[in-house]
Subunit: 242 residues, 2 copies
Amino acid sequence: MPPPSLNAVRCSECPIRHRAVCARCDEDELALLESMKSYRSFAAGEPILWRGEPLEFVASLVSGVASLSKTLEDGRTQMVGLLLPSDFIGRPGRARIDFDVTATTDVTLCCFRRAPFERLVEDTPHVAQRLMELALDELDVARDWMLLLGRKTAREKIATFVLMLVRRSQIDGQMPTRIALPMTRDQIANFLGLTLETVSRQLNALKKEGVISFTDRRYFGIEDLASLHDATGDDADGGVLV
Amino acid sequence: MPPPSLNAVRCSECPIRHRAVCARCDEDELALLESMKSYRSFAAGEPILWRGEPLEFVASLVSGVASLSKTLEDGRTQMVGLLLPSDFIGRPGRARIDFDVTATTDVTLCCFRRAPFERLVEDTPHVAQRLMELALDELDVARDWMLLLGRKTAREKIATFVLMLVRRSQIDGQMPTRIALPMTRDQIANFLGLTLETVSRQLNALKKEGVISFTDRRYFGIEDLASLHDATGDDADGGVLV
DNA sequence: CGGGCTTTTGACGCCGCTCAAAGATAGTGG
DNA sequence: CCACTATCTTTGAGCGGCGTCAAAAGCCCG
């Protein structure tokens, strides 16, 4: 079952206030947004949007992780995006999306009805500009990902993925000792264009080589950051991925 | 050597006037753009921009085809974007790009110096909105591509690529009889995440099966569109890719 | 006609997928 | 508290698709 809805939080106290689509809004614009927003929650694993269905809402992801995925005729699926807090779902000017959106963890969305939001985009340059920045950032990530999917070996894919998790959980450059693996082996496989068996084997290989260590099955630590970096195949200041 | 520069064409007569970043500009905005633009040309194979180098210009692609590509430490490369006329190079708010841009065919750019262009984006919502639409379209393409790179077989990749060329050269729904292969086998391979040998073998396999036919090495025709579609692995109304 | 490209074709081997089964882990109800 | 089940993960064996290496063939242009 879905987690309980957050009570409507005031925009000025919103945790993603400074990063989401509303980042640059002034008081008046914020008031407008406030009047058209509503929160919705989804439990881990729940579908949020299906490919092709008419889009009633656009939304900002407030908390949790969601994923975008595409599926071939015979069921092979590939994740094509990972949504983190402050990321935006949907787009002005388009009534449908061409991928499924699924809650990876429990998720809270800040939803806006599409029609009024689109009017807002027309009228307030701040929102349009921020939307563009978000889209361009997503493009950068997508392109790093394409390099990974098209050219990296299984080992390099896993190393890149692990390093991405490390970077994302870093606070003030401190190396965290305990890092969460936020998805199942199967989800990681769909993320990296591999099978779940290969994911399992490569993770255990990195462990056996002393590059990473497992405490729990869902948490790991870094033992040898340099080797991890070498294993990604990237050059010195390469790929960022999220 | 580069082809000779076009003489500065008036914006109102520009072939990409209605599709490029300036699509929605009114007379005044167009005049502003006109005052800061200049044309540059590049010959097939020439580099246009290198990854990481400071970006002096942003530009619209006026004619020809250019490609974006990324390279791993050991030289493996992957195309991450294909630029066609009216596509935009560069982005406001960022001084560097994270991929190489290369002319695939002879290319003409309509360049704008970055600083004044960025001011223009701040001031004219029409430009910002159009830029956002272009970015979102690119994102859609990138996501189809990710599915292809991560999950499709060599045969499906080739079939998808060929079908993309067919769609792009269709005029008014007419099936063209002679379609150009605009790149070498090596470029196709870097596009699809394959080797050039595999590209060659799969193209010839499609020919041997009577799905396509070759006249010249650089031109082909469609013999069996249904089989070609079946070979892509997509479901009914799937992937568009450019 | 000759040299440098691109493309084709073949032989071979390996990485990662497939299929299968056993081992962990967590949640559920008695 | 302990079976019992469902889900996730690990591990193994085997195979095949695609990459690698090599060489020949076709094509372009001087």
